[in-house]
């Protein structure tokens, strides 16, 4: 009889435990079932009725404990995100016009800072889009008034000769050109360059070829 009561009570309690949170079930199911078994065994010592009553009590208890709320983790010390921000937002709402003026000023200042940084980053900080871009330098001559001066080929050759710290050098002179393609004239951005330019920059043309090893001056190589 006791064995039957125990088996029935354990089956019912086990079933009811599936309605409890899984974390609780994983942590305590074995001990609960052990205790139920022990309660019924103790009851059996006083008679079958007591054993049955212990079994019924265990089942009712497993059902009634379903209403117990899940434990909440202990509340942590008030943090910046929970309390300070809440208080700050209350003050901001109460501030009205003052809050709007401060907010607008902040927005303008942030926008100005972002714009200045964007320009500085593009002009000075962003590396050149070439392999070893940080090793590239531009050398040029200036007039007494600060304007750009043209560089002659002998002067360029003298720079290369007299600046051994330069691993390689090439010249580049922006020069736009008007081209006529299929009867239509178009203005294209171009440059006069020396044949070392592609090697110095470390780039290859997307289509076509670079210069052939012809003399720097004179008739172009026949291809």
């Amino acid at each position: 009889m006791t064995r039957l009561v125990t088996a029935a009570a354990l089956a019912a309690v086990r079933l009811l435990l599936f309605l409890h949170p899984s974390a609780f079930r994983r942590a305590f199911a074995r001990e609960i079932l052990d205790d139920v078994r022990r309660d019924i065994a103790e009851g059996a010592g006083r008679g079958a009725v007591h054993a049955g009553a212990a079994g019924v009590r265990a089942i009712l208890d497993a059902a009634s404990a379903l209403k117990d709320r899940r434990p909440r983790r202990q509340r942590r010390v008030p943090s910046f995100w929970t309390d300070d921000l809440r208080i700050a937002s209350r003050y901001a709402r109460a501030g009205g016009t003052t809050t709007a003026v401060i907010g607008g000023t902040l927005a303008l200042a942030i926008a100005a800072a972002v714009a200045i940084f964007a320009v500085a980053e593009a002009a000075w900080l962003r590396p050149l889009p070439y392999p070893d871009g940080d090793r590239l330098v531009r050398v040029e001559e200036r007039t007494d008034r600060g304007g750009r001066a043209g560089v002659s080929v002998p002067a360029f050759d003298a720079w290369v000769r007299e600046l051994p710290s330069l691993a390689a050098a090439a010249f580049y002179e922006p020069r736009d050109a008007t081209v006529v393609i299929r009867g239509e004239a178009d203005r294209l951005a171009g440059a006069t360059v020396s044949r070392e330019l592609f090697d110095v920059l470390g780039v290859r043309p997307a289509i076509g070829r670079t210069f052939t090893p012809a003399p720097r001056f004179g008739p172009p190589a026949k291809s």
Partner: protein
């Protein structure tokens, strides 16, 4: 510290653990004994309470085990934490204030109706 009053089972379980670490079944027996049978939690209710106390940091699993002769090695032992002692003291003080207030109300002379 929990932001709500502790249940009678939790108070009695904490006070039994304040004496010494115990396993679940021993806590269940201690709760019934201390309350002179007024509070007799079932196994599931008791472990739901212990789970809550564990999650709130008021009790913890104990590595200390009794002598091998009386140790039940299949069972986990629990101990009260310093936060648990503070919570118990605070709850007992709250209950004392409550009882004091109730007694004072009972002692106060009944206001007669005009």
């Amino acid at each position: 510290m929990p932001d709500r009053p502790l249940s009678p089972v939790a108070v009695l379980a904490l006070s039994s653990l304040a004496e010494s670490p115990r396993h679940g079944y021993a806590i269940k027996k201690a709760v019934a004994l201390r309350s002179r049978g007024d509070v007799r939690p079932g196994a599931t209710s008791l472990y739901r309470t212990l789970w809550q106390l564990l999650e709130e940091g008021l009790i913890a699993e104990s590595g200390d085990r009794p002598a091998a002769a009386v140790d039940d090695e299949r069972r986990r032992y629990f101990r009260i934490t310093p936060a648990g002692r503070r919570a118990l003291a605070s709850e007992l003080a709250r209950l004392e204030r409550l009882i004091e207030a109730a007694r004072a109300t009972r002692r106060a002379p009944q206001r007669s109706r005009a």
